[in-house]
C-alpha cells in the first residue's frame, strides 16, 4: 500500500492475476499477455521485492503483497470500465484503452467513491469479477450508494434510471422500446414473483434478473 510501484510492475502483476483467473500463470504467458516488455531482470526484481515467486518449471504465483497490489489494479481497471461504459455510455471495446490509463492513476479514495456511486458492482462489462474494496465490505450500509439496482428499491418508491448494466443488446433495446431508458423515472410497484414497474402510465413486468440490470439514482432528482 504505502510503497510506490512503477507502472511496469503493475502491468506484470495485473497480467499474472488475469492469467490466474483463467487457470495458471507461467513466464511464457505473462511475457505474451502483459502490456509491457517483461524481461528476466524485471521478473527478478519483482521476486526480490517479495511480490511473486517463479518456480523451476516457470510457473508464477503471486505472493500476498503482490496479490494485494494486483487486486487493487484490477479493481480500478474494471470499475473504470463500468464507469466508462455505463455512465458515460461508450462501447465496451472503447472503454478498454481508457480503463488502462485509469488503473494507474486513480487514488484509492476516488476508486471507492466510484464503486459507491455505481452501487458496488460485482462484475465488469466483460463479466469478470471486480475484487471487493473496503467500501464494499463495510460501507454498503454506512454510505448510501448513489446508484442501486432497481430491485433494491422499496415497493412504491420512484427513482430515475441511471444506467443499465447488461451486455445483452436485445434486452437493452426491448427495455428502451417500452419506455425504460436512462433518465426516465420509474416506480417499483411489485417485487415478487416478478418485478413490476410503472413507467409513465404503462406497467411493465420483468424477471428479477432484468431488474438487477437496471440501476437507478437513489434519490430522485426531481
Amino acid at each position: 500500500m504505502g510503497r510506490k510501484t512503477t507502472e511496469e510492475i503493475q502491468e506484470v502483476l495485473e497480467a499474472v492475476w488475469t492469467l490466474e483467473e483463467q487457470g495458471s500463470a507461467t513466464v511464457d504467458k505473462v511475457v505474451r499477455s502483459a502490456e509491457t516488455t517483461v524481461s528476466d531482470e524485471l521478473l527478478g526484481r519483482l521476486e526480490s521485492e517479495g511480490l511473486l515467486s517463479v518456480n523451476s518449471s516457470g510457473r508464477i504465483r503471486l505472493l500476498p503483497e503482490g496479490r494485494q497490489i494486483a487486486e487493487k489494479i484490477i479493481r480500478r481497471h474494471r470499475l473504470a470500465e463500468r464507469l466508462i461504459c455505463d455512465v458515460l455510455g461508450y462501447q465496451v471495446e472503447d472503454s478498454e484503452a481508457a480503463a488502462c490509463e485509469y488503473e494507474h492513476v486513480l487514488a484509492e479514495g476516488i476508486t471507492n467513491s466510484i464503486c459507491t456511486l455505481l452501487g458496488h458492482p460485482r462484475y465488469c462489462p466483460h463479466n469478470k469479477p471486480i475484487p471487493e474494496g473496503e467500501c464494499c465490505r463495510q460501507a454498503s450500509r454506512a454510505l448510501t450508494p448513489i446508484a442501486v439496482s432497481c430491485d433494491q428499491l422499496q415497493v412504491g418508491e420512484s427513482a430515475r434510471i441511471a444506467y443499465f448494466s447488461t451486455k445483452e443488446h436485445s434486452r437493452l433495446l426491448k427495455l428502451s422500446a417500452l419506455g425504460i431508458t436512462p433518465g426516465v423515472t420509474l416506480k417499483l410497484i411489485q417485487k415478487w414473483p416478478a418485478c413490476v414497474v410503472q413507467c409513465e402510465e404503462t406497467e411493465i413486468a420483468f424477471e428479477p434478473d432484468v431488474a438487477q440490470n437496471i440501476y437507478v439514482w437513489q434519490t430522485p432528482k426531481e
Binding site: L173, L178, T202
Partner: protein
C-alpha cells in the same frame, strides 16, 4: 377484405403505433372489416389490408403490427419499417395511447423523418383523462406541424375529425433534425428519401435486411456513401453518431413530455363513491352466495341452488304430468326433465344454474368495471399480487368451470348431442338412408355423421364455443398477462417463463388451438416444451367436463389424487425436458395492459371468428379421424376387423400392467380420436359398475396423460414437423402407461380405496 398490392389509382394509408393502442379498432372504423382485436400486446401478427372510400378517393388501409420503435428489435418492428420504406404510403396515421406520451412521441419523432403526410390519433383519451393527464394536442400539432386528434376508438369518437385529417394530411416537419449538429451523414445522404437520423441508428445495429431494403429505396450513389460512412465508423470501432442521435432523441422526448403532458384533476374523483360502495357490497354478497352454492355440498350444508333445483323439479314434473304442452322435445329441451323425471340439462335448469352461479358475481363485477375506473385499477393491482391474485385466480377458474364445464359441457352438450343428435337427428337419418355401405359410412357405428359430426358439432363445438366466449372476455379484460406475473417462477422450473401460461390456459379450452398459439412464445425450445406439456397433461374442456362428471360420482379424494398425479408429472416432465432440451429460457419482459371492461361487440366478433376457425380447421380433422376408425372397423383380416385385432393387441398392456378390464382397450383407442371420447367411454364403464374406484383413478390418469386427440396430433405435425410429433407421441404413450402402472401398484399395495 384482403387484397393484393394496391392498384396505382388508390391512395394508401398505413396505421402505425405501439402495441395495444387500438390500431385494429381504428382499422375497423375506417374499413368496416374485422381484425382480431385483444387487450393483449402483440395480437396483430399479420398485416391486414382493407379499403375505404373517402371524398371520392379509394384508400387502401394497412394495419401494421405494433411497434415500440422504428429501430427494429423484433420481427414485427422490421415488418413495419419495411412497409414504410417499400410501399411508400400516401398518409401515415400514428395511433397512440394518449396516456403514454413519451413512448408515443418516440415513434412520432421517428415517423416524421419519412416526410410522408401524417396524422396523429391520440387514442384512449378517456383513460388518460381518468388518470388526470391532459395532453396538449394543439401544442403537439404545432410541434410536428401535423393534425393531432383526440379519439376514443371503441366508441368511434373522433372518427369524423380523423377522416377529415386523413384527407387533408400534409408533410410534417422534423424538430429533431434541426438539433442534430453532426451534419456529415445528413449531408452525405444529400437530402435522401429515407430518414437520415433513422439511417444512422439502423446502421449502428445489425439490421442487414433493412439496409438491403434501403438500397432499393435510395439512389446507388447515396447508398454507397452511406456504406462508406458506416465502414468508417465501424473500423473506428464505435457508434458515436448513433449514441448521439439516441441521446438527442431522449432529451427531445424529455423536454416534449414535460411541455405537452399536463396534470389536471382526475375525472375519476367525480366518480360517485356511493355507487361504487353499493355495487361492491353486492359483489361481495354475490361471491359469498357463489361460494355457498359451490362448496356447500362438500361441507354437507344444504345450498340455495340444490333447494331451488329440487323445488323447481317437483313443480315442473307435476306441470309436465298434467299439461305436457309441447311433447317430448319441449319436455327434454325447455323443461329439462329427462326420462327418469330428473331436472337437469335443459333451458330451465340452465337458467337456474346461471342465476345461482354466474349472475350474482358477473353482474356486479361488470357494473363496477364499467362504472368505476378506480375499481378497475384496484382489480389490476390485486390480481397481480400473489396474496390476493391466487384467490382471484381460483375464483376465475371456478367461474370458468361453471360456465364452460357446466353450461357448455353439460347443458349445451346435453341439448345438442343427446337431445338433438342422438334422440332425433341420427335416428331420423338412419331411417332415411337405405342400408348398405353408405349407411355404414355415414350413420353406422363409426359413421361420418353419427360419430364425426356428432362429436365435432354436438360435443366439442358447444364446449369450445363457451370457452371461446369466456376466454375472449378474459383476454379483453386484460387479466391474462397478470397470470404471467403470478406463474413466472413456476414456469421457470420447467424452462419456460410466465408468457407460457397463456397457451397452457388456452389448453384447458382446446389443446389443438393452444398448440397453435404456442407461436406467441419467442424461442423454439419454449414452443417445443409447451407443446409437449400441452399434449401430455392439459385436459381440454371437453375432456375436463367428462372427467369431472366421473369424479363427481366418486370422492373428493379420487379427484385430488388424479389432479395431484397429473400436475406432478407435468412439473417433472417439464423440469426434465428443460434440462434435456438445450437453450436458455428467453427473458421475461412484458407489458401489462390496464384492466378494462371488455367490449361485448368485440368479444362476440372474436368468438364468431374463432368458431369459424374451428369449423374450418378442426372439423375436417375429426372427419379424417372417424374415417380412419371406420376403415379399421371395416377391413377384415382372418375374419377379424383391424380394430378388434388392435384392441386385442392392447389387452396385455391393459390387464397385465394397468389391471383394467379388457373392454377398456377400445376406449383407449377412441381416446386418440378424442380424449374426451375415451373419457366418456370410461364414464359408461364405471356407470355400469365394471370398474372399481382404483381402476377409475388409474384409467383417468392414463387417459389424461395419454396422447392428445388426433386433431392435436396433426396440429403438432403442422407446427413442429413430423419427426418431433412422433418423438412426442413416442414418449407420451409409454410414459402414460408407466405412470398408470406405478400409481395402480401403489394404490393396490397400500390398499387405498375410493368407493
Amino acid at each position: 377484405m384482403a387484397m393484393n398490392p394496391s392498384p396505382k389509382s388508390s391512395r394508401k394509408v398505413v396505421l402505425v403505433g405501439n402495441p395495444n393502442v387500438g390500431k385494429s379498432i381504428i382499422f375497423r372504423i375506417l374499413t368496416g372489416s374485422y381484425v382480431m382485436v385483444s387487450n393483449f400486446p402483440g395480437t396483430t401478427v399479420e398485416v391486414s389490408r382493407g379499403r375505404m372510400q373517402l371524398g371520392g378517393n379509394i384508400y387502401e388501409v394497412v394495419d401494421t403490427p405494433g411497434i415500440n420503435s422504428l429501430v427494429p428489435q423484433s420481427e414485427d418492428e422490421r415488418v413495419t419499417c419495411e412497409i414504410l420504406l417499400r410501399e411508400k404510403p400516401d398518409v401515415i396515421v400514428q395511433v397512440a395511447d394518449a396516456k403514454n406520451l413519451r413512448r408515443t412521441l418516440l415513434i412520432t419523432s421517428q415517423l416524421v423523418e419519412f416526410g410522408i403526410p401524417m396524422v396523429l390519433a391520440l387514442n384512449m383519451i378517456d383513460e388518460a383523462e381518468d388518470r388526470g393527464i391532459d395532453v396538449d394536442s394543439r401544442g403537439l400539432s404545432e410541434l410536428f406541424s401535423i393534425p393531432a386528434i383526440k379519439t376514443i376508438a371503441i366508441y368511434s369518437k373522433g372518427r369524423k375529425q380523423l377522416l377529415n385529417a386523413i384527407q387533408n394530411a400534409h408533410p410534417p416537419c422534423n424538430p429533431i433534425q434541426a438539433l442534430y449538429s453532426r451534419e456529415s451523414i445528413v449531408k452525405a445522404l444529400d437530402n435522401p428519401a429515407p430518414p437520415a437520423l433513422l439511417c444512422i441508428e439502423w446502421l449502428a445495429g445489425k439490421n442487414d435486411d433493412l439496409i438491403h431494403t434501403l438500397e432499393g429505396c435510395m439512389g446507388a450513389a447515396a447508398f454507397t456513401r452511406l456504406k462508406e460512412w458506416r465502414e468508417h465508423y465501424w473500423s473506428a470501432g464505435h457508434n458515436y453518431p448513433a449514441r448521439e442521435v439516441s441521446g438527442l432523441r431522449n432529451r427531445f422526448l424529455d423536454r416534449s413530455v414535460a411541455r405537452y403532458k399536463k396534470k389536471k384533476k382526475s375525472r375519476s374523483l367525480k366518480e360517485s363513491g356511493n355507487v361504487k360502495k353499493v355495487w361492491f357490497g353486492l359483489l361481495l354478497a354475490g361471491l359469498l352466495f357463489f361460494a355457498w352454492n359451490e362448496f356447500g355440498g362438500l361441507l354437507r350444508i344444504p345450498t340455495p341452488y340444490d333447494l331451488a333445483m329440487r323445488q323447481a323439479g317437483k313443480s315442473l314434473n307435476a306441470f309436465a304430468a298434467q299439461a305436457n304442452p309441447g311433447g317430448d322435445l319441449f319436455r327434454d329441451i325447455v323443461l329439462g326433465l329427462n326420462k327418469d323425471g330428473n331436472f337437469e340439462f335443459g333451458l330451465l335448469p340452465e337458467a337456474v344454474h346461471l342465476l345461482f352461479f354466474i349472475v350474482p358475481v358477473i353482474v356486479p363485477l361488470a357494473v363496477l368495471l364499467s362504472r368505476s375506473r378506480s375499481f378497475a385499477r384496484e382489480m389490476g393491482e390485486l390480481s397481480r399480487r400473489p396474496s390476493t391474485g391466487i384467490p382471484i385466480l381460483l375464483g376465475v377458474l371456478l367461474l370458468l368451470y361453471e360456465f364452460v364445464g357446466y353450461t357448455g359441457a353439460q347443458t349445451l352438450v346435453g341439448l345438442l348431442e343427446n337431445a338433438f343428435f342422438e334422440q332425433h337427428f341420427i335416428p331420423w337419418l338412419r331411417a332415411l338412408i337405405p342400408e348398405g355401405f353408405l349407411w355404414n359410412l355415414l350413420v353406422g357405428e363409426y359413421g361420418l355423421i353419427s360419430m364425426g359430426i356428432t362429436y365435432a358439432v354436438g360435443i366439442v363445438l358447444p364446449v369450445v364455443g363457451a370457452f371461446f366466449i369466456a376466454f375472449g372476455l378474459l383476454e379483453d379484460s386484460g387479466y391474462l398477462p397478470r397470470l404471467s406475473i403470478l406463474s413466472d417462477r413456476l414456469m421457470r422450473v420447467m424452462g419456460l417463463n410466465g408468457k407460457a401460461i397463456l397457451p397452457m390456459v388456452l389448453g384447458f379450452g382446446c389443446v389443438t388451438m393452444a398448440t397453435m398459439s404456442t407461436r406467441i412464445l419467442s424461442s423454439k425450445r419454449e414452443r417445443l416444451i409447451t407443446t409437449l406439456l400441452l399434449s401430455l397433461g392439459i385436459p381440454c374442456s371437453a375432456q375436463l367436463g367428462v372427467i369431472m362428471g366421473i369424479a363427481a360420482g366418486f370422492t373428493v379424494k379420487a379427484t385430488l389424487v388424479i389432479i395431484g398425479v397429473v400436475a406432478s408429472q407435468l412439473l417433472l416432465v417439464g423440469y426434465l425436458s428443460s434440462l434435456l432440451i438445450r437453450g436458455q429460457p428467453s427473458e421475461f419482459i412484458f407489458e401489462i395492459p390496464p384492466i378494462r371492461m371488455p367490449q361485448m361487440k368485440n368479444v362476440v366478433l372474436k368468438t364468431m371468428y374463432r368458431i369459424k376457425w374451428y369449423l374450418k380447421e378442426a372439423v375436417p380433422l375429426f372427419l379424417a379421424g372417424t374415417l380412419v376408425l371406420f376403415f379399421m372397423d371395416s377391413v377384415r383380416i382372418h375374419g377379424q376387423s383391424l380394430l378388434v385385432s388392435f384392441q386385442k393387441g392392447l389387452e396385455p398392456v391393459l390387464s397385465g400392467l394397468l389391471h383394467l378390464p379388457t373392454e377398456a382397450a377400445g376406449i383407449f383407442l377412441l381416446g386418440f380420436l378424442r380424449r374426451d371420447y375415451g373419457a366418456a367411454g370410461l364414464y359408461e364403464l364405471s356407470r355400469d359398475g365394471m370398474l372399481t374406484g382404483q381402476q377409475v383413478v388409474v384409467s383417468l390418469i392414463v387417459i389424461t396423460l395419454f396422447v392428445p386427440c388426433i386433431a392435436t396430433f396433426l396440429m403438432i405435425i403442422k407446427e413442429q414437423g413430423w419427426k418431433k410429433a412422433l418423438a412426442i407421441a413416442g414418449f407420451i404413450v409409454p410414459f402414460a402407461v408407466s405412470v398408470g402402472t406405478v400409481v395402480g401398484w401403489i394404490l393396490r399395495t397400500f390398499d387405498i380405496q375410493f368407493n
